[in-house]
């Protein structure tokens, strides 16, 4: 063995080899260019009905054209697509072969195909590796969904697809005036806890910040980490909580200003107050070791009754289904009011249509992709989705009166109590760079000894930079 590596390389060969290794050592560069494929030509023939338009085929899908869909495999799973939506589509178009693909990394799998001009027809753009939806829209790769929303519903008679949706759904997927994206899942965001843990300890849901910290104290006394989120990959959950508080303090316009990159949007008093309140929770009632944990690890600790409250969206129950002990009883509480002078009541909620689905405009069968979305938006599609994922859809009242799960019922009740006081933000999908900065700033605020002023100022700086950067498309609402 010792004879293999005789060091008889002379300087010349060594230099040459070093140069060769130098070339090999920067694979990222060649990776980049590998994506720059031949590219498809810009035909605009796609956006016309390819088949005959009829009452059962309002979008004019070509009966036997194959369809390719890609679904993100995450908290919601993919069963809803394979077991509910594809059969529903094939019932109307038995001669169309539907190709189904799933992935945990959407951009890795799908983006090269856009560049090569051969995209799948319908894509579920979601997960931590989602594609920049705004950039896709401005590159002309996304199909205008106006026809879909104007088409009649599959199984709710006498109504167009748009009429069957929760108000605001179409707007949520609108980019500069045109609907391009269907946000299908309706997510309620708040603090999740175990109903059992609360019942066993006689704890009640707090509405004021003073009661909230009292509850956290009581949990601490019990040896439970009162509050926590995963810093390693889910600071997003925590900043949603902070911004929910900010919106309650100063009204939903606080978030609108943030989305529109208004000057001083982040340094407003509402954001500052919210950040200060949450910084205290982070310093006193959490465990800074969580900064190094992933979301599933913290969620598991909650299932083991080691963590009291956890900020998350309503996908949580389904995501944890395998690890949740019997009787855990997931419950949602709206985030308590920070001040007594909050503009919105304590019942106000961060709730939004989320989970993006879009049709590729330059795909082979864009009409089929839209038709597929029409089937997802049918009543049967919505009920199937909710049953399989414990998550509501944007189809209004599709599952009313159905007992599906504790967490879902709890979320639904909170949504009912909130009434018109729901709000959301969109800067995270519009400006990925800003999202990254808010994540880092949130970790600093909660676990690394940051404070509200530092938090708001550093984010404002990046928000201003994004605004000034002409290479980033701007959106507004």
């Amino acid at each position: 063995m010792t004879d293999i590596f005789k060091p008889e390389v002379d300087r010349r060969t060594l230099l040459r080899r070093a140069a060769a290794v130098g070339l090999l050592a920067t694979p990222a560069v060649s990776m980049l260019s590998a994506c720059l494929g031949g590219g498809g030509d810009d035909e605009d023939t796609a956006d016309k009905p390819a088949g005959e338009v009829s009452a059962t085929n309002p979008l004019g899908v070509k009966e036997d054209a194959p369809l390719e869909i890609v679904i993100f495999n995450g908290g919601l799973g993919t069963k809803y697509a394979t077991d509910v939506d594809i059969p529903s589509y094939n019932k109307l178009f038995p001669n169309s072969k539907v190709t189904f693909n799933q992935t945990e990394e959407i951009s890795t799998v799908v983006q090269p195909r856009f560049t090569a001009g051969d995209p799948p027809d319908m894509i579920n753009n979601s997960g931590s590796k989602l594609m920049d939806q705004g950039a896709l829209v401005s590159a002309g790769q996304v199909q205008d969904l106006t026809d879909l929303f104007a088409a009649p519903s599959v199984d709710i008679s006498g109504k167009t697809v748009k009429d069957t949706l929760i108000p605001g759904t179409v707007e949520q997927g609108t980019f500069n005036g045109k609907p391009y994206v269907l946000n299908y899942a309706f997510t309620v965001f708040g603090l999740w806890y175990s109903g059992k843990l609360f019942k066993d300890n006689g704890w009640t849901v707090p509405t004021t910040w003073a009661d909230f910290t009292k509850l956290l104290d009581a949990m601490k006394a019990k040896g439970i980490t009162p509050y926590g989120y995963a810093g390693a990959n889910a600071p997003y959950y925590q900043y949603t909580a902070i911004l929910t508080s900010a919106a309650k303090i100063g009204g939903p316009d606080v978030l609108k200003n943030i989305d529109n990159l208004e000057p001083g949007a982040w340094t407003s008093d509402a954001v500052k107050q919210a950040a200060a309140a949450w910084a205290e929770v982070g310093a006193k009632y959490s465990n800074k070791a969580f900064l190094g944990l992933k979301h599933t690890e913290v969620q598991l600790q909650q299932n083991q009754y080691k963590v009291g409250l956890y900020p998350s969206g309503s996908w949580l129950e389904n995501e944890q289904a395998k690890d949740t002990p019997a009787g855990f009883d997931y419950q949602l509480m709206p985030i308590p009011s920070v001040t007594t002078a909050d503009k919105l009541p304590v019942t106000a909620l961060y709730a939004a249509a989320g989970e993006q689905y879009f049709v590729a405009s330059k795909g082979k069968n864009p009409r089929g992709g839209m038709e597929f979305l029409r089937h997802m938006l049918s009543k049967a599609g919505a009920v199937g989705f909710t049953q399989l994922t414990k998550t509501l859809t944007v189809v209004a009242g599709a599952t009313d009166g159905m007992e599906i799960s504790a967490g879902l019922t709890s979320g639904n009740k909170a949504l009912g109590a909130a009434g018109a006081d729901t709000f959301s933000f969109r800067f995270d999908t519009w400006y990925k760079k800003l999202d990254d900065e808010v994540r880092a700033a949130t970790n600093e605020l909660m676990y690394q000894g940051g404070n509200a002023d530092k938090f708001t100022q550093r984010i404002q700086k990046v928000a201003d930079a994004v605004k000034a950067d002409s290479s980033i498309e701007k959106f507004s609402r």
Binding site: M1, T2, D3, I4, F5, K6, P7, V9, L14, L15, A18, A19, V21, G22, L23, L24, A25, T26, A28, V29, S30, L32, S33, A34, C35, L36, G38, G39, G40, S107, Q111, F114, T115, K129, M131, D132, A135, S138, A139, Q141, G231, A232, N233, P235, K288, A289, F290, L291, G292, L293, E297, K432, K433, D436, A440, N443, E444, Q448, S471, I472
Partner: protein, 304 residues
């Protein structure tokens, strides 16, 4: 004899050169080209924008942060790896003293040689996942679990502490690399004629003297190669940082490297032109480093 020589050589070279040109040289040319564009990666069209990407790059604080981390990596990683590998290689080959006129390693050196090479056999992604568990901040982490057993209740936040995170990752890089260099140096030591050791030993040289006066000078060429290889590896570190670090390159940018920023700009922000500009800078950094190292460490080779 001369007749038919060129067809022969060309016949051998054409395939590898074609493959190299297609998969290495051509993508490089493309990357250089792209670095002058505003390509977003979502369509085949783009505009040329001159040096805009580069001026923007030099004002980007994250970029400079990444460069700083490379500087730390560039000094710490080769030094630690080479020091540890040399020490082990010396023990394995010469450390046992002379037996019947032959220099031997410490007892069981054949066994250790195999063990040291193990980390090299693991895919980098696997190593990253394993060490994420080793470093985990709760009691499920190998180190923190053990610490808790002996009564230390405040966990060490290897990856979540700004000041520790980069060093924790460097430790993994070193752990993974040492095995290979032990083998490389062993090979180098094996080719040093035993008479030299014998002569030195007869003159009453201690092990320390043997190492510094005999082994090290005769190993100079191998060391140089090792330094270049490790330096180039220090410009990468992408895989470990991407998998292990908190919030990808965090906490708060404390571990980010150029490879990760390239990836982030292209995958997350859709700024392929800008990412290519970073790639071009990385290319020149690596090349400059390799050339510089070879210049600076130039020394007359001891002829055997």
């Amino acid at each position: 004899m001369k007749h038919g020589r060129y067809p022969f050589i060309i016949g051998f070279l054409i395939v590898p050169v074609a493959i190299y040109a297609t998969f290495v040289v051509y993508p490089y040319i493309q990357a250089f080209n792209l670095s002058f564009t505003n390509w977003r990666g979502f369509s085949p069209t783009f505009d040329y924008i001159g040096f805009d990407n580069f001026t923007k790059l030099f004002q980007d604080t994250t970029f400079w942060k990444a460069i700083q981390h490379h500087a730390v990596l560039l000094i710490a990683m080769p030094l630690l790896t080479i020091a540890i590998a040399l020490f082990f290689a010396f023990l394995l080959n010469v450390g046992g003293g002379s037996k019947g006129g032959l220099m031997t390693g410490v007892r069981g050196s054949k066994f250790y040689r195999v063990i040291f090479f193990f980390p090299q056999l693991l895919a980098l992604a696997l190593v990253a996942v394993i060490f994420s568990r080793v470093y985990s901040p709760d009691e499920s982490g190998l180190i923190n679990g053990l610490l808790q057993q002996v009564g230390v209740n405040d966990p060490v936040l290897f990856l979540a502490d700004k000041n520790l995170a980069l060093w924790s990752i460097i430790a993994v890089l070193v752990w993974q690399a040492v095995g290979f260099y032990v083998v490389l140096f062993s090979a180098g030591m094996g080719s040093i004629p035993t008479e030299i050791y014998e002569a030195a030993a007869l003159d009453g040289a201690t092990r320390g003297t043997l190492f510094f006066k005999v082994t090290l000078p005769l190993l100079w060429n191998t060391l140089q190669v090792a330094w270049v290889y490790l330096g180039i590896a220090a410009f990468d570190a992408f895989a470990l940082v991407n998998v292990m670090s908190v919030d990808r390159g965090g906490p708060d940018g404390a571990t980010t490297v150029l490879g990760l920023e390239i990836f982030r700009n292209m995958q997350d922000y859709g700024q392929y032109g800008y990412a290519s500009a970073m790639g071009v800078v990385l290319f020149f950094l690596t090349l400059t480093f390799a050339a510089l190292t070879l210049r600076v460490t130039r020394r007359d080779t001891v002829e055997l």
